[in-house]
Symmetry: none
Subunit: 258 residues, 2 copies
Protein backbone atom coordinates (compact mmCIF):
# COMPACT_ATOMS: atom_id res chain seq x y z
CA UNK A 1 0.00 0.00 0.00
CA UNK A 2 1.65 3.12 -1.23
CA UNK A 3 0.81 6.65 -0.42
CA UNK A 4 1.00 8.93 -3.38
CA UNK A 5 3.22 11.83 -2.43
CA UNK A 6 2.38 13.95 -5.36
CA UNK A 7 3.65 17.17 -3.88
CA UNK A 8 7.13 17.47 -5.25
CA UNK A 9 8.78 20.42 -3.63
CA UNK A 10 10.69 22.80 -5.75
CA UNK A 11 14.42 22.76 -5.45
CA UNK A 12 15.32 26.30 -6.26
CA UNK A 13 18.93 26.82 -6.96
CA UNK A 14 19.88 29.83 -5.00
CA UNK A 15 22.10 32.32 -6.73
CA UNK A 16 21.84 30.37 -9.95
CA UNK A 17 25.16 28.64 -9.83
CA UNK A 18 24.97 26.24 -6.99
CA UNK A 19 25.16 22.49 -7.61
CA UNK A 20 21.96 20.59 -7.03
CA UNK A 21 23.30 18.58 -4.13
CA UNK A 22 24.53 21.75 -2.43
CA UNK A 23 21.15 23.38 -2.77
CA UNK A 24 19.53 20.29 -1.32
CA UNK A 25 22.08 20.14 1.48
CA UNK A 26 21.26 23.73 2.31
CA UNK A 27 17.56 23.00 2.51
CA UNK A 28 18.03 19.95 4.67
CA UNK A 29 20.47 21.79 6.90
CA UNK A 30 17.99 24.58 7.44
CA UNK A 31 15.27 22.04 8.14
CA UNK A 32 17.32 20.48 10.89
CA UNK A 33 18.58 23.71 12.36
CA UNK A 34 15.13 25.18 12.17
CA UNK A 35 13.84 22.39 14.33
CA UNK A 36 11.80 20.60 11.70
CA UNK A 37 13.41 17.34 12.79
CA UNK A 38 13.84 16.29 16.36
CA UNK A 39 17.22 15.06 17.62
CA UNK A 40 17.55 11.28 17.64
CA UNK A 41 14.59 11.01 15.29
CA UNK A 42 14.74 9.26 11.95
CA UNK A 43 15.37 11.49 8.98
CA UNK A 44 13.42 10.90 5.74
CA UNK A 45 14.93 7.99 3.83
CA UNK A 46 16.97 8.48 0.69
CA UNK A 47 14.17 7.08 -1.41
CA UNK A 48 11.70 9.50 0.09
CA UNK A 49 14.00 12.44 -0.52
CA UNK A 50 14.57 11.45 -4.14
CA UNK A 51 10.84 11.43 -4.70
CA UNK A 52 10.10 14.54 -2.74
CA UNK A 53 12.70 16.66 -4.49
CA UNK A 54 12.77 14.93 -7.83
CA UNK A 55 16.49 14.26 -7.88
CA UNK A 56 18.50 11.10 -8.21
CA UNK A 57 19.65 9.04 -5.30
CA UNK A 58 23.25 9.98 -6.02
CA UNK A 59 22.38 13.61 -5.54
CA UNK A 60 20.55 12.88 -2.33
CA UNK A 61 23.47 10.85 -1.04
CA UNK A 62 25.95 13.59 -1.83
CA UNK A 63 23.77 16.09 -0.01
CA UNK A 64 23.52 13.77 2.97
CA UNK A 65 27.28 13.36 2.90
CA UNK A 66 27.59 17.09 3.42
CA UNK A 67 25.36 16.92 6.47
CA UNK A 68 27.21 13.89 7.73
CA UNK A 69 30.55 15.64 7.38
CA UNK A 70 29.15 18.47 9.44
CA UNK A 71 28.02 16.06 12.09
CA UNK A 72 24.36 16.88 11.68
CA UNK A 73 23.26 13.35 10.91
CA UNK A 74 24.52 9.80 11.14
CA UNK A 75 23.54 6.94 8.86
CA UNK A 76 22.99 3.31 9.70
CA UNK A 77 22.17 0.54 7.22
CA UNK A 78 18.83 -1.04 7.87
CA UNK A 79 17.84 1.70 10.27
CA UNK A 80 18.07 4.93 8.42
CA UNK A 81 19.45 8.39 8.91
CA UNK A 82 19.40 9.80 12.40
CA UNK A 83 19.39 13.46 13.32
CA UNK A 84 22.46 13.92 15.41
CA UNK A 85 21.90 17.09 17.31
CA UNK A 86 22.06 17.63 20.94
CA UNK A 87 20.40 20.55 22.63
CA UNK A 88 17.39 22.48 21.47
CA UNK A 89 17.31 21.98 17.74
CA UNK A 90 17.44 25.67 17.04
CA UNK A 91 20.29 27.48 15.40
CA UNK A 92 23.24 25.33 15.95
CA UNK A 93 26.21 25.76 13.77
CA UNK A 94 28.91 23.33 13.16
CA UNK A 95 32.49 23.44 12.76
CA UNK A 96 35.84 22.51 11.70
CA UNK A 97 37.04 19.09 10.72
CA UNK A 98 40.45 19.94 9.43
CA UNK A 99 42.97 22.67 9.65
CA UNK A 100 42.05 23.65 6.14
CA UNK A 101 38.45 24.08 7.15
CA UNK A 102 39.62 26.01 10.14
CA UNK A 103 40.86 28.66 7.79
CA UNK A 104 38.34 28.21 5.05
CA UNK A 105 35.06 27.85 6.78
CA UNK A 106 34.63 31.57 7.12
CA UNK A 107 34.01 31.50 3.39
CA UNK A 108 30.59 30.02 4.02
CA UNK A 109 29.67 32.76 6.43
CA UNK A 110 29.03 36.45 6.22
CA UNK A 111 31.01 38.86 8.32
CA UNK A 112 28.90 41.87 9.23
CA UNK A 113 31.06 44.77 10.31
CA UNK A 114 29.96 46.26 13.59
CA UNK A 115 32.60 48.74 14.61
CA UNK A 116 36.15 49.79 14.13
CA UNK A 117 38.54 51.75 16.33
CA UNK A 118 42.02 51.97 17.68
CA UNK A 119 42.59 50.62 21.13
CA UNK A 120 45.36 51.13 23.62
CA UNK A 121 46.04 47.77 25.19
CA UNK A 122 45.40 47.91 28.92
CA UNK A 123 46.24 45.33 31.54
CA UNK A 124 43.10 43.30 31.10
CA UNK A 125 43.28 43.18 27.31
CA UNK A 126 46.98 42.45 27.45
CA UNK A 127 46.25 39.32 29.43
CA UNK A 128 43.56 38.28 27.02
CA UNK A 129 45.66 38.86 23.93
CA UNK A 130 48.89 37.66 25.43
CA UNK A 131 50.75 40.86 24.51
CA UNK A 132 52.24 43.86 26.28
CA UNK A 133 50.14 46.66 27.70
CA UNK A 134 50.63 50.07 26.12
CA UNK A 135 50.55 48.67 22.61
CA UNK A 136 48.33 50.39 20.09
CA UNK A 137 46.16 48.05 18.05
CA UNK A 138 43.50 48.47 15.43
CA UNK A 139 40.30 46.64 16.34
CA UNK A 140 37.36 45.65 14.19
CA UNK A 141 34.25 43.90 15.42
CA UNK A 142 32.13 41.56 13.32
CA UNK A 143 29.05 39.49 13.68
CA UNK A 144 29.41 36.21 11.83
CA UNK A 145 26.24 34.88 10.26
CA UNK A 146 25.36 32.00 8.06
CA UNK A 147 23.50 33.36 5.08
CA UNK A 148 19.81 33.34 5.78
CA UNK A 149 20.14 32.70 9.47
CA UNK A 150 18.36 34.97 11.87
CA UNK A 151 20.74 34.95 14.74
CA UNK A 152 24.47 35.56 14.47
CA UNK A 153 26.72 32.60 15.07
CA UNK A 154 29.43 34.53 16.79
CA UNK A 155 30.86 37.88 17.71
CA UNK A 156 34.42 38.37 16.55
CA UNK A 157 36.99 40.92 17.56
CA UNK A 158 40.03 41.19 15.33
CA UNK A 159 43.16 43.03 16.39
CA UNK A 160 46.02 43.90 14.07
CA UNK A 161 49.07 46.14 14.46
CA UNK A 162 48.53 49.62 13.04
CA UNK A 163 50.70 48.93 10.00
CA UNK A 164 48.21 46.33 8.82
CA UNK A 165 45.13 48.40 9.60
CA UNK A 166 44.37 48.93 5.92
CA UNK A 167 43.55 45.23 5.63
CA UNK A 168 40.63 45.77 7.97
CA UNK A 169 38.84 48.09 5.60
CA UNK A 170 36.17 45.73 4.44
CA UNK A 171 32.71 46.29 2.98
CA UNK A 172 29.82 46.14 5.48
CA UNK A 173 29.32 42.51 4.59
CA UNK A 174 32.29 40.40 3.53
CA UNK A 175 33.37 36.83 3.61
CA UNK A 176 37.10 36.89 3.10
CA UNK A 177 39.17 36.52 6.24
CA UNK A 178 41.22 39.49 7.38
CA UNK A 179 44.41 37.50 7.60
CA UNK A 180 44.13 36.74 3.89
CA UNK A 181 43.82 40.44 3.17
CA UNK A 182 47.01 41.00 5.11
CA UNK A 183 48.80 38.22 3.26
CA UNK A 184 47.72 39.62 -0.06
CA UNK A 185 48.23 43.30 0.64
CA UNK A 186 51.47 43.14 2.57
CA UNK A 187 53.14 40.05 1.20
CA UNK A 188 53.47 38.35 4.55
CA UNK A 189 52.56 34.77 5.11
CA UNK A 190 50.83 33.14 8.04
CA UNK A 191 53.17 30.48 9.28
CA UNK A 192 51.73 29.44 12.59
CA UNK A 193 48.40 29.72 14.30
CA UNK A 194 47.78 29.20 17.95
CA UNK A 195 44.25 28.57 19.11
CA UNK A 196 43.09 28.77 22.69
CA UNK A 197 39.65 27.51 23.57
CA UNK A 198 37.97 28.25 26.82
CA UNK A 199 34.46 28.67 28.17
CA UNK A 200 32.90 31.82 29.44
CA UNK A 201 29.55 33.24 30.46
CA UNK A 202 27.98 35.95 28.34
CA UNK A 203 27.77 39.31 30.10
CA UNK A 204 25.02 41.79 29.34
CA UNK A 205 26.91 43.58 26.61
CA UNK A 206 27.91 40.46 24.70
CA UNK A 207 24.49 38.95 25.14
CA UNK A 208 22.89 42.01 23.64
CA UNK A 209 25.15 42.08 20.60
CA UNK A 210 24.61 38.38 20.00
CA UNK A 211 20.89 38.52 20.75
CA UNK A 212 21.41 35.86 23.35
CA UNK A 213 20.63 35.58 27.02
CA UNK A 214 23.06 36.97 29.54
CA UNK A 215 24.39 34.14 31.64
CA UNK A 216 24.44 31.69 28.77
CA UNK A 217 27.61 29.70 28.30
CA UNK A 218 29.79 30.51 25.32
CA UNK A 219 32.96 29.28 23.73
CA UNK A 220 35.70 31.86 23.65
CA UNK A 221 38.19 31.06 20.93
CA UNK A 222 41.32 33.15 20.61
CA UNK A 223 43.56 32.74 17.60
CA UNK A 224 47.05 34.15 17.21
CA UNK A 225 48.46 34.41 13.71
CA UNK A 226 52.24 34.55 13.35
CA UNK A 227 54.57 34.90 10.40
CA UNK A 228 57.85 33.03 9.83
CA UNK A 229 59.79 35.18 12.23
CA UNK A 230 57.17 34.66 14.92
CA UNK A 231 55.97 38.22 14.58
CA UNK A 232 52.32 38.66 15.46
CA UNK A 233 50.15 39.37 12.44
CA UNK A 234 46.68 39.20 13.89
CA UNK A 235 44.73 38.17 16.95
CA UNK A 236 41.08 37.25 16.83
CA UNK A 237 38.77 36.66 19.74
CA UNK A 238 35.45 34.96 19.00
CA UNK A 239 32.45 34.35 21.22
CA UNK A 240 30.13 31.51 20.26
CA UNK A 241 26.98 31.03 22.32
CA UNK A 242 26.90 27.37 23.23
CA UNK A 243 23.45 26.91 21.80
CA UNK A 244 24.66 27.93 18.36
CA UNK A 245 27.99 26.31 17.86
CA UNK A 246 29.96 23.21 18.63
CA UNK A 247 33.51 22.87 17.55
CA UNK A 248 34.02 19.47 16.07
CA UNK A 249 37.27 17.87 15.04
CA UNK A 250 38.35 14.46 13.90
CA UNK A 251 41.68 12.84 14.48
CA UNK A 252 42.86 9.78 12.69
CA UNK A 253 45.42 7.35 13.89
CA UNK A 254 48.54 7.06 11.81
CA UNK A 255 48.02 4.31 9.25
CA UNK A 256 51.39 2.77 9.91
CA UNK A 257 50.49 0.69 12.91
CA UNK A 258 50.85 -2.89 11.80
Amino acid sequence: MEIQTSAQERLERVAGQQPLYAALAGILTRDIRGGKHQPASVFPSEKELTERYGVSRQTVRQALRVLRDQGLISSHPGIGTIVRESAPARDRFNAVNSTEELLQFVGDTEMHAVSRRNVLVDQELAARLDCQPGLLLSEVAFLRKTPGADLPMSYVLIYVPPRYAAAQETPPVSNSPIYQNIERMFGVRVHEIRQDVTATVLDDKLAQVLQAKAGEAALQITRFFYDESKALIQVSVSYYPSSRYTQSARFRAAPNAA
Copy 2:
Protein backbone atom coordinates in the same frame (compact mmCIF):
# COMPACT_ATOMS: atom_id res chain seq x y z
CA MET B 1 48.14 8.36 -30.59
CA GLU B 2 47.31 6.03 -27.75
CA ILE B 3 49.57 3.98 -25.65
CA GLN B 4 48.24 0.57 -24.87
CA THR B 5 48.39 0.12 -21.14
CA SER B 6 47.64 -3.52 -21.15
CA ALA B 7 48.93 -4.23 -17.71
CA GLN B 8 45.88 -4.01 -15.52
CA GLU B 9 47.04 -4.30 -11.98
CA ARG B 10 45.28 -6.57 -9.64
CA LEU B 11 43.12 -5.04 -7.00
CA GLU B 12 43.31 -7.59 -4.26
CA ARG B 13 40.74 -7.13 -1.63
CA VAL B 14 42.58 -7.45 1.59
CA ALA B 15 40.88 -9.34 4.33
CA GLY B 16 38.21 -10.48 1.94
CA GLN B 17 35.46 -8.08 2.83
CA GLN B 18 36.76 -4.65 2.12
CA PRO B 19 34.88 -2.45 -0.34
CA LEU B 20 36.59 -1.95 -3.65
CA TYR B 21 37.08 1.77 -3.17
CA ALA B 22 38.63 1.20 0.25
CA ALA B 23 41.08 -1.32 -1.16
CA LEU B 24 42.00 1.11 -3.91
CA ALA B 25 42.33 3.96 -1.42
CA GLY B 26 44.69 1.81 0.60
CA ILE B 27 46.86 1.09 -2.42
CA LEU B 28 47.00 4.73 -3.47
CA THR B 29 47.74 5.86 0.08
CA ARG B 30 50.62 3.43 0.32
CA ASP B 31 51.90 4.61 -3.05
CA ILE B 32 52.00 8.21 -1.86
CA ARG B 33 53.41 7.52 1.55
CA GLY B 34 55.90 5.14 0.04
CA GLY B 35 57.23 7.95 -2.09
CA LYS B 36 56.01 6.65 -5.42
CA HIS B 37 54.60 10.09 -6.10
CA GLN B 38 56.45 13.29 -5.36
CA PRO B 39 54.67 16.10 -3.49
CA ALA B 40 53.30 18.78 -5.82
CA SER B 41 53.39 16.33 -8.73
CA VAL B 42 50.36 15.39 -10.74
CA PHE B 43 48.64 12.19 -9.71
CA PRO B 44 47.33 9.78 -12.37
CA SER B 45 44.01 11.02 -13.73
CA GLU B 46 40.72 9.39 -12.85
CA LYS B 47 40.47 7.95 -16.32
CA GLU B 48 43.89 6.43 -16.05
CA LEU B 49 43.14 4.90 -12.65
CA THR B 50 39.87 3.55 -13.99
CA GLU B 51 41.69 1.70 -16.75
CA ARG B 52 44.67 0.62 -14.70
CA TYR B 53 42.63 -0.99 -11.95
CA GLY B 54 39.62 -2.00 -13.96
CA VAL B 55 37.05 -0.26 -11.82
CA SER B 56 34.44 2.34 -12.55
CA ARG B 57 35.00 6.02 -12.23
CA GLN B 58 32.64 6.14 -9.26
CA THR B 59 34.89 3.77 -7.41
CA VAL B 60 37.99 5.75 -8.32
CA ARG B 61 36.36 8.97 -7.21
CA GLN B 62 35.26 7.48 -3.92
CA ALA B 63 38.79 6.27 -3.30
CA LEU B 64 40.18 9.68 -4.15
CA ARG B 65 37.68 11.23 -1.79
CA VAL B 66 39.21 9.22 1.02
CA LEU B 67 42.65 10.55 0.17
CA ARG B 68 41.28 14.06 -0.17
CA ASP B 69 39.63 13.87 3.24
CA GLN B 70 42.98 12.90 4.67
CA GLY B 71 44.65 15.81 2.98
CA LEU B 72 46.91 13.65 0.86
CA ILE B 73 45.76 15.05 -2.46
CA SER B 74 43.87 18.00 -3.85
CA SER B 75 41.81 18.08 -7.03
CA HIS B 76 41.47 20.82 -9.58
CA PRO B 77 39.28 20.75 -12.70
CA GLY B 78 41.28 21.08 -15.85
CA ILE B 79 44.53 20.50 -14.04
CA GLY B 80 44.30 17.20 -12.29
CA THR B 81 44.97 15.68 -8.94
CA ILE B 82 47.96 17.00 -7.04
CA VAL B 83 49.91 15.12 -4.41
CA ARG B 84 50.12 17.26 -1.34
CA GLU B 85 52.32 15.64 1.25
CA SER B 86 53.75 12.31 1.98
CA ALA B 87 54.49 12.34 5.65
CA PRO B 88 52.60 13.89 8.51
CA ALA B 89 52.10 17.30 6.94
CA ARG B 90 48.48 17.34 5.94
CA ASP B 91 47.90 20.62 4.25
CA ARG B 92 49.03 24.14 4.75
CA PHE B 93 48.68 23.85 8.44
CA ASN B 94 49.27 20.95 10.62
CA ALA B 95 48.01 20.36 14.09
CA VAL B 96 50.95 20.07 16.37
CA ASN B 97 48.88 18.51 19.06
CA SER B 98 47.76 15.59 16.97
CA THR B 99 46.29 12.32 18.00
CA GLU B 100 49.29 11.22 19.95
CA GLU B 101 49.42 14.37 22.03
CA LEU B 102 45.69 14.33 22.42
CA LEU B 103 45.84 10.82 23.80
CA GLN B 104 49.03 11.20 25.71
CA PHE B 105 48.14 14.08 27.87
CA VAL B 106 46.04 11.98 30.17
CA GLY B 107 49.17 10.14 31.12
CA ASP B 108 50.34 13.06 33.22
CA THR B 109 47.22 13.09 35.32
CA GLU B 110 45.61 10.94 37.95
CA MET B 111 42.17 9.52 37.41
CA HIS B 112 40.27 9.19 40.66
CA ALA B 113 37.37 6.81 40.33
CA VAL B 114 34.10 8.21 41.59
CA SER B 115 31.37 5.81 40.60
CA ARG B 116 30.47 3.02 38.28
CA ARG B 117 27.13 1.77 37.05
CA ASN B 118 25.16 0.56 34.09
CA VAL B 119 22.94 3.04 32.32
CA LEU B 120 20.06 2.54 29.96
CA VAL B 121 20.39 5.10 27.20
CA ASP B 122 17.36 7.35 27.06
CA GLN B 123 16.44 9.84 24.35
CA GLU B 124 18.50 12.70 25.70
CA LEU B 125 21.63 10.64 26.28
CA ALA B 126 21.22 8.96 22.91
CA ALA B 127 21.44 12.30 21.14
CA ARG B 128 24.45 13.28 23.19
CA LEU B 129 26.30 10.04 22.54
CA ASP B 130 25.09 9.42 19.00
CA CYS B 131 23.78 5.96 19.71
CA GLN B 132 20.42 4.30 19.86
CA PRO B 133 18.11 4.69 22.81
CA GLY B 134 17.52 1.53 24.76
CA LEU B 135 21.15 0.56 24.57
CA LEU B 136 22.80 -0.57 27.77
CA LEU B 137 26.14 1.05 28.48
CA SER B 138 28.61 0.79 31.27
CA GLU B 139 29.46 4.16 32.78
CA VAL B 140 32.33 5.15 35.01
CA ALA B 141 32.93 8.58 36.47
CA PHE B 142 36.35 10.01 37.28
CA LEU B 143 37.85 13.15 38.65
CA ARG B 144 41.02 14.06 36.84
CA LYS B 145 43.71 15.66 38.93
CA THR B 146 47.22 16.80 38.33
CA PRO B 147 49.39 15.17 40.96
CA GLY B 148 49.68 17.44 43.97
CA ALA B 149 46.89 19.76 42.94
CA ASP B 150 44.08 20.47 45.35
CA LEU B 151 41.20 20.90 42.99
CA PRO B 152 40.29 18.48 40.25
CA MET B 153 40.88 19.64 36.70
CA SER B 154 37.85 17.90 35.26
CA TYR B 155 35.01 15.51 35.76
CA VAL B 156 34.93 12.71 33.22
CA LEU B 157 32.20 10.27 32.31
CA ILE B 158 33.25 7.29 30.24
CA TYR B 159 30.77 5.04 28.47
CA VAL B 160 31.65 1.72 26.89
CA PRO B 161 29.54 -1.11 25.48
CA PRO B 162 28.95 -3.90 27.99
CA ARG B 163 31.36 -6.23 26.22
CA TYR B 164 34.21 -3.89 27.12
CA ALA B 165 33.03 -3.24 30.66
CA ALA B 166 35.89 -5.24 32.11
CA ALA B 167 38.28 -2.58 30.90
CA GLN B 168 36.68 -0.13 33.28
CA GLU B 169 37.74 -2.05 36.36
CA THR B 170 40.52 0.23 37.46
CA PRO B 171 42.14 0.83 40.83
CA PRO B 172 40.82 3.83 42.80
CA VAL B 173 43.60 5.94 41.36
CA SER B 174 45.00 5.21 37.93
CA ASN B 175 46.63 7.01 35.07
CA SER B 176 46.16 4.71 32.14
CA PRO B 177 43.31 5.67 29.84
CA ILE B 178 40.36 3.33 29.56
CA TYR B 179 40.63 3.11 25.80
CA GLN B 180 44.13 1.69 26.19
CA ASN B 181 42.78 -0.96 28.50
CA ILE B 182 40.26 -1.87 25.86
CA GLU B 183 42.92 -2.01 23.16
CA ARG B 184 45.09 -4.24 25.28
CA MET B 185 42.42 -6.52 26.67
CA PHE B 186 40.29 -6.95 23.57
CA GLY B 187 42.76 -6.52 20.74
CA VAL B 188 40.91 -3.66 19.09
CA ARG B 189 42.62 -0.50 17.95
CA VAL B 190 41.47 3.08 18.09
CA HIS B 191 41.51 4.35 14.55
CA GLU B 192 39.61 7.59 14.68
CA ILE B 193 38.58 10.02 17.33
CA ARG B 194 35.95 12.66 17.03
CA GLN B 195 35.98 15.52 19.46
CA ASP B 196 33.12 17.91 20.05
CA VAL B 197 33.82 20.98 22.12
CA THR B 198 31.08 23.15 23.50
CA ALA B 199 30.53 25.44 26.47
CA THR B 200 28.16 24.87 29.32
CA VAL B 201 27.32 26.26 32.71
CA LEU B 202 27.97 24.11 35.76
CA ASP B 203 24.83 23.01 37.51
CA ASP B 204 24.72 22.36 41.23
CA LYS B 205 25.57 18.71 40.98
CA LEU B 206 28.59 19.18 38.70
CA ALA B 207 29.79 22.18 40.70
CA GLN B 208 29.73 20.16 43.87
CA VAL B 209 31.68 17.27 42.41
CA LEU B 210 34.26 19.64 40.95
CA GLN B 211 34.36 21.85 44.03
CA ALA B 212 33.52 24.79 41.83
CA LYS B 213 30.81 27.41 41.87
CA ALA B 214 27.50 26.65 40.27
CA GLY B 215 26.96 28.99 37.34
CA GLU B 216 30.61 28.98 36.35
CA ALA B 217 31.37 28.38 32.69
CA ALA B 218 32.93 25.08 31.71
CA LEU B 219 34.20 23.38 28.61
CA GLN B 220 32.32 20.24 27.74
CA ILE B 221 34.43 17.96 25.59
CA THR B 222 32.92 14.82 24.15
CA ARG B 223 35.17 12.29 22.48
CA PHE B 224 34.08 9.34 20.36
CA PHE B 225 36.57 6.53 19.84
CA TYR B 226 36.10 4.33 16.79
CA ASP B 227 37.92 1.31 15.44
CA GLU B 228 38.78 0.57 11.82
CA SER B 229 35.27 -0.52 10.97
CA LYS B 230 33.83 2.63 12.51
CA ALA B 231 32.44 0.67 15.42
CA LEU B 232 32.15 2.71 18.56
CA ILE B 233 34.62 1.71 21.22
CA GLN B 234 34.18 4.38 23.84
CA VAL B 235 32.59 7.74 24.48
CA SER B 236 33.91 10.14 27.06
CA VAL B 237 32.31 13.36 28.26
CA SER B 238 34.52 15.75 30.19
CA TYR B 239 33.68 18.93 32.08
CA TYR B 240 36.49 21.45 32.60
CA PRO B 241 35.73 24.54 34.69
CA SER B 242 36.91 27.47 32.65
CA SER B 243 39.14 28.75 35.42
CA ARG B 244 41.15 25.55 35.46
CA TYR B 245 41.73 24.62 31.87
CA THR B 246 42.22 26.12 28.44
CA GLN B 247 42.55 23.91 25.42
CA SER B 248 45.44 25.13 23.37
CA ALA B 249 46.43 23.99 19.91
CA ARG B 250 49.06 25.05 17.42
CA PHE B 251 48.94 24.78 13.67
CA ARG B 252 52.01 25.20 11.55
CA ALA B 253 52.35 25.88 7.89
CA ALA B 254 53.52 23.02 5.77
CA PRO B 255 57.14 23.51 4.77
CA ASN B 256 56.38 23.11 1.10
CA ALA B 257 54.48 26.34 0.52
CA ALA B 258 54.75 27.16 -3.14
